[in-house]
């Protein structure tokens, strides 16, 4: 019989996950005894409170942690990188609740909706702290399954079901590849823990290990929705209920990218020459394909989906650089990217609710003058996505390019610039439609005053504040990000 020593568990470090799981339990059970508005209000309130509490707990942990320690035996890590990512994830969740509040889903499923949202955030919060291949896969499946169901939650809408099925099939395929890669890595090194993988069989070119690394990269690239592993993204973003898309576009990227950086830097420092080049290739493909395909989209959500593919390219660029500057760049970029992404989808959701259908770019004709607040915010996000000040994303791009240039890859920065120039056309296409469309093409929505949605308006405002705030307060933010990645031994 194998002696089994129960590991000491640092419950404090697990508190964000635990709070979120508690929220899941509450939103699943209590709404059964409530009706109508009370059910809706209770679920949203619990979701909001548990997300905020988890963010605060992660923040408290972040102020206490100066080093990276292993917890729960060696399954998870407790460090600022994980905690910063957890704050970002919970923040995205809070904004997503704001977008969801007035969504017209039936009262019957509202409890489940928020439970799944909390569960997805919980999975991601767990995922970013993963310290071995098993917890990595567990976290990945935990949040992915929640997202599959969330995507298909509008069961009376065919596109939502179709998107859910597509996401399930393609996502499972990605997960399977990742799992197979993990098995190969285990076979090559006899280890699942990241640090042991790095220590095992140093210096020997090993086909098994390289194949495993490649498959891991592919599996993670599916989640990041980097081209050429992006096929599911446009359909899922378009078909999913818009609040879910808003959440997914921000939070999935945060979780998958942070973990990609962690896994590559801590488990595969010896293979850095391989994965930096592989990532650089993925960056180029994502930038090219995402931007070119976005040029021809008429559906706004599809256009934003391709834009998110191109931003996956920009976001992978600092990881490909493989230096400490890149680590900072990635985390800093994610702050404003997440806010802007949720903010844009929130405005799209507002327009959808107003017109009661999926919106095309043409549906935004005159929107800027009709809804000045939403128009101004969407304009800010679009100029920001291009990379113009005063959006924090401008400095994010600056940092990403700086990281690539410091690595000696000026050409990669120039690829990024060409992609940016192409992206001007479709981002500003939306601005043009909002403000400059000649009146004869303008669609007048069916009369009456616009639907009031204070929660959504507050979400958009908060996203705009984060977008500009991260630009103004870049100094302190970057100091935080520097400390968060300080313990990672970057290969360059």
């Amino acid at each position: 019989m194998i002696a089994f020593a129960r590991p000491t568990i640092d419950w404090g470090a697990l508190s964000p996950e635990l709070v979120l799981l508690g929220g899941v339990a509450l939103t699943l059970v209590v709404p059964l005894f409530l009706r109508g508005r009370a059910r809706r209000g209770f679920s949203a309130a619990v979701a909001l409170l548990s997300l905020a509490a988890a963010a605060v707990l992660a923040g408290v942990l972040a102020t206490r942690d100066s080093a990276s320690t292993e917890i729960v035996a060696t399954a998870l890590r407790r460090d600022q990188l994980a905690e910063i990512a957890q704050i970002l994830l919970c923040g995205s969740g809070v904004l997503a609740v704001g977008v969801s509040l007035a969504e017209r889903e039936s009262d019957e499923r509202v409890g489940e909706y928020y439970a799944l949202l909390l569960s997805a955030v919980g999975g991601m919060v767990f995922f970013v702290a993963a310290n071995n291949l098993i917890t990595l896969f567990l976290g990945l499946e935990w949040f992915s399954i929640s997202l599959y169901v969330l995507t298909a939650i509008a069961v009376d809408r065919l596109p939502s079901l179709e998107a859910g099925l597509k996401y399930l099939v393609v996502g499972s395929f990605g997960s399977a590849i990742l799992l197979f890669g993990s098995a190969l890595v285990y076979g090559a090194t006899g280890a699942v823990r990241f640090a042991e993988i790095a220590a095992g069989r140093p210096g020997r070119p090993d086909a098994l290990l390289v194949a495993g690394l490649a498959m891991l990269l592919v599996g993670l690239a599916f989640k990041v929705s980097a081209a050429p592993f992006h096929m599911w993204t446009p359909d899922v973003y378009q078909g999913a209920p818009t609040p879910v898309t808003a959440f997914m576009s921000a939070a999935t990227k945060v979780a998958a990218l942070v973990l990609t950086m962690r896994v590559l830097v801590t488990a595969f420092p010896g293979q850095a020459d391989l994965w930096t080049v592989a990532l650089a290739v993925i960056v180029c493909i994502s930038l090219a394909w995402g931007n070119l395909a976005a040029l021809v989209q008429s559906d706004v959500k599809r256009m934003l989906a391709y834009s998110s593919i191109s931003h996956a390219g920009f976001l992978l660029m600092p990881i490909a650089a493989g230096n400490a500057l890149g680590g900072r760049a990635l985390l800093y970029y994610l702050v404003s990217y997440a806010a802007m992404s949720i903010g844009s989808f929130a405005v799209v959701a507002a327009r959808e609710r107003e017109l009661a259908r999926l919106v095309t770019v043409e549906d935004f004709a005159g929107f800027g003058w009709e809804r000045p607040g939403h128009g101004l915010a969407l304009g800010l996000f679009m100029f920001g996505f291009v990379g113009l000040p005063p959006a924090g994303l401008f400095l994010g791009k600056f940092y990403a390019f700086s990281a690539a240039i410091e690595r000696g890859w000026t050409w990669l920065a120039i690829v990024g610039i060409v992609a940016t120039v192409v992206s001007i056309y479709y981002y500003l296409g939306l601005v043009r439609m909002m403000y400059m469309q000649p009146p004869e093409l303008r669609l007048v929505p069916a009369g009456g005053s616009p639907p009031r949605d204070p929660a959504l308006a507050a979400t958009v405002a908060a996203a705009a504040v984060v977008t500009i705030g991260s630009f103004v307060a870049a100094g302190p933010l970057i100091d935080v990000m520097r400390d968060a990645v300080a313990f990672l031994g970057f290969p360059r």
Partner: protein
């Protein structure tokens, strides 16, 4: 702190114009005009306190933005940037006043964007950190895009797209140069940067400035943007924004890259000279009023570039004087063109003519500005062009010959413009009852003309008060005191 206030006044007013729901267009326009005048008054106060004998940065403010890459909010004024900020403040007052008179739709957003543009432009002239410079530089793009795209003429959509993509492509190349240059120096603070020998970095900067100016052959966006924009926005574009590009050459490209400047002087001067002659010829052939002014702007920027790349006392002095001159002249001309278009609803020269008859004020002012534009001896433009040609003469007499030819061409296109608008028989688009210049137009354009006449009497007001009196030494020492 003083410089920051110069940026903050228009910026704060812009935010107020956007966020406060203005009841009447007069209130919004009046507020904008007051803010622009306040900025100008503040500039006058600063100019009065400015120590012209002192070559170092004045009124500066330094605050760390993010420390790890050495980026800071660092603004301040040199004596030559003081003149350019003054030009910006003055042209902004003229643009806002003219826009009020023209009664633009949605005055709150409109004037807010103009003031935001002014703040960004002043920021460009004041920034002493490469990344901050880039931030202000890009911040100029957003208001220009919206101003042309929303309030422009019928072809505005195409014009904005071309303008935006051209200039963004240029400025993103500059971003790469800024990063490479800044990382190599370990700081982005312009007062601490050393020189660099890389021609590629240099060309990245030059690309951005050449597109924005524009200098031939990067002027693809120019005719459409200048034609489709509202008159006062064209005035800002050609009067002030193009100076930001020339300023970039003067403040960054020339001082920090002495070797590439020396190596590439001949090709750059060739391009500038071709642009000077080609722009003048196109101005002579242009079918409409704005086309003449737009292409003359292309030519003038070529001339300014020639003066800058002479990199000697006379050339640099002349280039700075010519920047101020051209800023005032093209602003006045674009506003007059706007006035003519309002009266005749066309700018096409073949439909115009005979406007002088019964409209003496319009005729006098247009002729006076035109005569200064063609650099008649005794005018401030003559002083500027003379200094530029004198400066470039030492680099090779051939360049001066080209420049002198271009002055003759300038006389041809200005006189063609004047006669096609004012003289000949009344054009088919000229209504009998078209008003002479109204008092507000006279006060706006007249004050620009007054400044031009003042400079004609005393061009040394600018040339004796730049670079601490030692242009070449100042520029080649990267503006270090």
């Amino acid at each position: 702190m003083e410089t920051t206030v110069l940026i903050a006044i228009p910026l704060g007013a812009a935010l107020a114009l956007w966020l406060v729901p203005w009841r009447s267009s007069v209130a919004a326009g009046g507020f904008a005009l007051l803010a622009a005048l306040a900025d100008l008054a503040w500039w006058v106060a600063l100019a009065g306190r400015f120590d012209f004998g002192f070559r170092d940065l004045q009124f500066d403010l330094h605050a760390v933005w993010f420390a790890d890459l050495g980026v800071s909010y660092h603004v301040g004024l040199f004596d030559f940037s003081l003149w350019l900020t003054g030009l910006t403040a003055l042209v902004t007052v003229a643009a806002v006043a003219y826009g009020m008179w023209a009664g633009r739709e949605r005055p709150g957003p409109y004037f807010g964007l103009i003031l935001f543009l002014a703040a960004a432009t002043i920021g460009v002239f004041a920034a002493q950190d490469l990344l901050l410079f880039y931030v202000f530089w890009e911040a100029m793009m957003i208001p220009l895009y919206v101003l042309i795209g929303v309030w422009g003429g019928p072809g505005r959509i195409g014009a904005t797209i071309r303008f935006f993509i051209y200039t963004m492509a240029g400025s993103l190349l500059m971003l790469v140069s800024i990063i490479v240059f800044g990382l190599a120096n370990g700081t982005f603070d312009m007062t601490k940067l050393g020189t660099n020998g890389s021609a590629w970095i240099f060309l990245g900067f030059v690309a951005a400035f050449a597109v924005k100016a524009p200098i031939w052959p990067f002027h693809g966006w120019l005719p459409d943007a200048y034609r489709e924009a509202p008159a006062e926005v064209s005035a800002l574009l050609s009067g002030v924004i193009s100076k930001a590009a020339a300023y970039g050459l003067l403040r960054i490209a020339i001082p920090y890259f002495p070797d590439p400047v020396a190596d590439l002087r001949v090709p750059i001067l060739t391009i500038a000279a071709v642009g000077l002659v080609y722009g003048s010829l196109l101005a002579f052939r242009a079918p409409d009023v704005r086309g003449v002014i737009a292409y003359s702007s292309l030519a003038q920027l070529g001339l300014i570039a020639i003066g800058l790349f002479a990199v000697n006392d006379s050339g640099l002095n002349g280039a700075v004087l010519q920047m101020v001159n051209h800023g005032l002249v093209s602003t006045a001309l674009f506003l007059l063109a706007g006035g003519i278009e309002r009266r005749t609803s066309t700018g096409e020269l073949r439909l115009l003519g005979g406007l002088a008859r019964g409209r003496p004020v319009l005729a006098s002012i247009l002729i006076a500005v035109g005569v200064i534009a063609l650099a008649v001896p005794g005018s401030t433009a003559f002083a500027g062009e003379f200094l530029v040609l004198n400066g470039i003469f030492t680099r090779g007499w051939g360049w001066s010959v080209v420049g002198a030819v271009a002055i003759v061409l300038a006389a041809m296109y200005v006189l063609r413009l004047v006669s096609a608008v004012l003289h000949l028989d009344p054009g088919s688009a000229v209504p009998e009852q078209a008003y002479d210049l109204r008092p507000l137009e006279v006060s706006v354009v007249g004050s620009l003309l007054a400044v031009l006449l003042f400079l004609s009497f005393w061009p040394a007001a600018v040339t004796d008060h730049v670079f601490g009196g030692r242009p070449q030494a100042t520029v080649t020492s990267q503006f270090q005191p």
